[in-house]
Structure formats: structure tokens, C-alpha cells
Symmetry: T
């Protein structure tokens, strides 16, 4: 109804499993301290390699949440 | 043999499951109305959050298809 | 200890299964000929379509590795 | 409930009045032929000049709409 | 005199009226909790459509403010 | 006189001859089904290689055309 | 008739009122010294904040004008 | 020998013939008023369409020239 | 061992001396309030001019730090 | 049949004749040392000017080739 | 007080010493012919190599200056 | 005289001292194995932080070198 304002924070989630899990880990951690999470958008997918294998997928993403009026 | 021309359309596929499923859902829907689909390229991965969890993965992508001569 | 120098090479991994598998296939192939792989970053996710289905996921990525001193 | 798919079309709205009016004119025209319009995003603001004055504001924008299931 | 350091935060202001009002709403809300606001820069103009009309203009912007020494 | 609205479509023209011919082939094909073509802008120049030679030049371009009032 | 050449200059217009006014102020000033102004395109919208309010809207834009043959 | 400084100016060359001719026309015109031209780089290739044909190729480019010491 | 999550904050460091000093000043200030700083990346180098001289170098950068588990 | 991996190398072809010739010269040279060339994509078109004329067209491009399994 | 308009010019400063010196050389040269210089922003850092060493650092930058009312 | 072809390789130089030193270290290492180095261009400046201080400056850059005819 009113004209909401949102804040956007940038996080990097990581996972040794998959890109999707890295996104979920990042969102889960953000949800521990931020309320009213509304959307995310991925800005980069990268990862750390060790001994020729993927050690961690790392997903940089912006997370938007609604500020209280 | 001849010099083909392609058209590129932009769609957003969504899924509550995963990034891959959102891509597949988008391609499936495009295939219902377009023939000769040839390639896709992802332009953005984002999603909708509700109660601190991922409600939908949303993948914006361009889909190219060959036009009849 | 010393100031390392890294080289970055660009590869495209593909898979008929998933985005994650395309990334892994690319890294596996790079690891056959390059030592000291250190990180990767995805620059594009695309794919080839045939008969209205995804035939191959193709992931362009940069792979960084440490050069010997 | 289901996993919706959206299509994105690109239009250029113009107006001799203002940037906002050019956006509204573009949306109005799109609404004449497309149903279920959902969002727009501006990709460029430009304009045509004549005799040292702004003759038309031109706003390029992407417009997304939900495809029927 | 001294070498100031600034922090940049990202917000999305919205308004049912106009792009300018969405910017102002975003700045007003930021000013409730942040001191020494110094500049803003728009990174995206988008909006929500309903029944073929603009329901909300949404302006993503970065806001910079000076940190205390 | 009135405030025109334009639509932008994205096509890929190809040619075994040259970049210019690929652009012309794309425009020619678009002109078969679209009226009031007004401008084009090239977004990418690429091509297909076979046996170490250029088999096809491929030019991605946006083509704008005026919608009827 | 002949193949015109255009020059593009970059200016920043400002206004304490609105984005549109900042664009107009920039164009007005350019028109004082340049003839045959033909188009403008906005490259950035930003502004200066003071006491938690917008002091000036600043619009960076490119202005194109036709050179005499 | 000394540390030269260059200036970069932006022009748009046009031609009814080809992309290459549009580049040459732009450079030729720049050479009428600027000395010590050193390099150019194309920033956009576009064109004007009329009756379903290319009326003009338009090439936006930056042209760099050495300033006298 | 566990799948860390990082937050990325954006700051602008300034210095009347050099680009490097502006980076260091920004990092020093961030270290006063944030723990577990892990990396920075420069997004823009700019500066303020006065009387034809560089008054301040200003370096915009993103700073990443590890969140506690 | 299998999931191919490609490598992408970046080259700059030059020619005193035309953009197309610069592309061909770059591809020809790459074909002397690389097998299984598959595609190219232009990343920049620029050139060297001397005495107010185009001395060399220079085309930066990425060239992709299939790695042996 | 009034709504200033600024012009932005693009220059390339060079130096055999350092990136900072290349920036300063560019600003110094601009200050010889332009008044009211207000800011600069670096758009590219590059350089010329000879015999395996850096012969010149070259910094492309935009320089903004206030136009007289 | 002839139409040279160049190859572009991407490296990351690092230094605990400064941005300039990281560039030089990268160029020095490249010069050990590549002949006819011609230019470099910086694509990213970043660094590693430890205990709230800059441990390493890391400069990603492209290095171009002339291929033998």
C-alpha cells in the first residue's frame, strides 16, 4: 500500500557441493540476521580449486529486503 | 547451406527446485510455440525469497531459433 | 612468501546433465594438462537445443593457476 | 503455485513532455496487445533534439509478462 | 582536511507517482538512519505493472555517506 | 507528430561472405515480416570456423520498428 | 543526402528540481555554443545530498551534433 | 621521449555503402580539423533503415590524437 | 572446513598522496569496525581537482569479510 | 557424443585493407598452430592512424577450439 | 547557487614512472588549456612494453570541468 | 610492413608493496617465457587482506605480444 523502501546487501555463499547449495547457504545465513528478505540476484559464480578439483563453489549475490516503514 | 537468419527471444523460467530446473522450464515453455530452437544463453539468475527461504529460482535467458528461409 | 604470478586461461566445459557437471567437466579437462589450478570464475552459461530440449549445457569459465617461480 | 514462465519484450516509448511520460506511453501501447504485464526495466534514456531543444524523450525498456500455462 | 572514508549502501526507493519521487523516498528513508549522506547514483530504474498500468516505479541506487574519523 | 512507440526485436544474420552481408541478410529477412523498420544496432559479431576457415559470419543485432498508433 | 559525420560531447547538467530539469539545463547550455544538436543519451543519473535531502540532481549525458560538410 | 598526453574525441561516421566506409568517412572528417591522429576504436555499429533497406551505416568511434607538448 | 559465508561492503577511501594510499586508508578504516577482512577489489579510481591539481585521489572498492558461523 | 571441452584464446588480427581482412588474417594465423577451430567472436574493432588515414585495422577476437578428449 | 553545467573531456596521460605519475601528467596538461577542472575518473590503465619492460604507463581518464554560466 | 597478428594472454601479478609493483612483477614473469611483448591492460585491481592489512595487491591484466610471421 505504502511506498516501500528496500535495502540491498551483498554476500558470498559457498558450498563444496553445488552452485545451488552455495546460493542456499548464503540465503540461510542472511536470514539469521535480516528480516523481510524479498529477492536475490546472482552477480558472480566462481570457486576455489585444490588438487585439480573443485573445493568450494562460491556464489556472489545481492539480497534485497524490505525496510520497516 | 544457405545463410540462415535466427531470431532471439528473451524469457524467464522459474522453478521452486533449482537453477537447472528453471532453465528447463523456460525452454519447455518456449518449445510449445517456437520451432527450430537452437541455443540459449543465461543473462541473469535471481529468485524470490519468502520467510527467509528461496521460493522460486528465476532464470532470465535468451533463446535463439532458426527462421524458415 | 614470494609474490606469485598466476595465469588465467579460458575454457568451455559442456555436459548433457547440468550446469554443475559442465563446470566439473571443464575443470577436470584443464587439470589433465595444467598444474597448481587455483580458482575458476564463470563468465557465461549457455547451451545447445535440439528438438526443443537441452542437448548440452555449456559453461564458459576462466581458470587461474599459479606459475612456478 | 505452478512455475510460471515470462516473456520479455523490448520497446521504446517516446514523449515530448518528460521521461516519466515516455515510460507511460510505452507501457500503455504494450498493454494494448499484451496481457499479464508484470514489470518493466529501463535500459536507456535518450532523446531527439531540434533547434537546440528536446523534441522527444525516448526511453528504451524491457517489459515482462506472464505466459499462460 | 583529513582523508575521509565513505561507505556506500544500496537501496531501492519506490513510488506510485514518478521516478523522481521514488528517488526522494529512498533518500528520505536512508536519512532516517544514516548521517552525513553525501551523494547518490542511480543503478536501475524499473517498476511493477498491474492491469496494464504502472503500479510502482522502483529506483535502485547507491547512497554514499561519510564515516566519522 | 504523435508520440510514437517502437518495438525492438533481436535477430542474428549470417553470411559466408562478410560482416556487411550478414547484416544485410538479417535486415532483409526481418523486412519480410515487419513493417516500418527504423534502425538496427549490432550487439555482437562472431562466426563459425571449419577446417581453419570462416564458414559463416554471424551478426547479432537489434532491429527497431515503429508500431502503428 | 551526403554521408554526415557527427561529433559527440559529454556534459553533466544539474538541477535542484528534477531529473528532467537537469537534462534540459544541460541541453540548454550546450545549445549556447554548439549548432545542429541532434540527439542526447543519458549515461548516468546521480546527485548531491546535503542534510539528508537532494541538493542537486546531476545527469551525465552524451550530446551528438552534426558537423558541417 | 617525453611523456605524451593524448585527447580522445568521439565521432559518428556514416555511409550508405558499408561499415568500413563509415569508419573511413569519420576519420577523414576528423583529419580535417585535428592533427596527430593516432588511433580509433569502434564503440558501436548501428544504422538507419528505410523501406526495409539499410539507408546508412553509422559507426560510433573514439579517435585519439597526441597533444603538442 | 565448514561452508563459510562472506559479506561484501562498499567503501571509498581517499588520500591526497596516491592511489595506493587511498586504498590503504579505506582498508584501515574498515578494519576499525569489521573483523575477518578477507579481500578487496577496486571498482573505480577517481579524484577531486582544485586549481588544476589533484586534491584527493578517491578509490571505490568492495571489501569482503567472513561472517561468523 | 561425449561432453567436449573447448579452449578459448584471444588474438588480434590486423590488416591495412578492411575489418573483414583483419578477422581473416587473425583466423589464418591461429589455424597455423591450433587444430579444431570452432568459432570466433569479436571483442573490439580499433585501428592505427597515420597522416590522417587508417594505417591498420585491428580486430581483437576470441577464438574457440575443441580439445582432444 | 545556480544549476551548473559541466563538460567532460577524455584524455590519456602517460609516464615511464608509475600509474600515479601518468594521472598527474594528464591532469597537468589538461590544466594548461581548461579552467575550473573539478574531477577525474580513470577509465583504463594500460601501457606499452618494450624489451620485456614497461616503457610507458598509459591512463585513460575522463576530466570534468565547470562551464561558465 | 606486413599485417601482424598478436596474441593476448591474461595474468595476475601480485606484490606486498603496491599496485605498480604487482604490474611489474606480472610483466617480468611473462617476459621470462614470451617474446615480443607489446602492451598490457589492467582488467582488475584487487588484493588479499589479513589481520586488517593488505597482504598482497593483485592486478589482473591482459598482455599482448606479436606472433612471428
Amino acid at each position: 500500500m505504502s511506498d516501500h523502501v528496500y535495502r540491498v546487501t551483498e554476500i558470498v555463499g559457498s558450498s563444496s557441493e553445488s552452485v545451488d547449495a552455495a546460493i542456499r547457504n548464503g540465503v540461510d545465513r542472511a536470514a539469521q540476521t535480516l528480516r523481510n528478505l524479498d529477492w536475490f540476484e546472482v552477480s558472480q559464480v566462481r570457486g576455489h580449486l585444490e588438487d585439480g578439483r573443485i573445493k568450494h563453489y562460491q556464489v556472489c549475490m545481492k539480497v534485497g529486503f524490505r525496510l520497516d516503514d
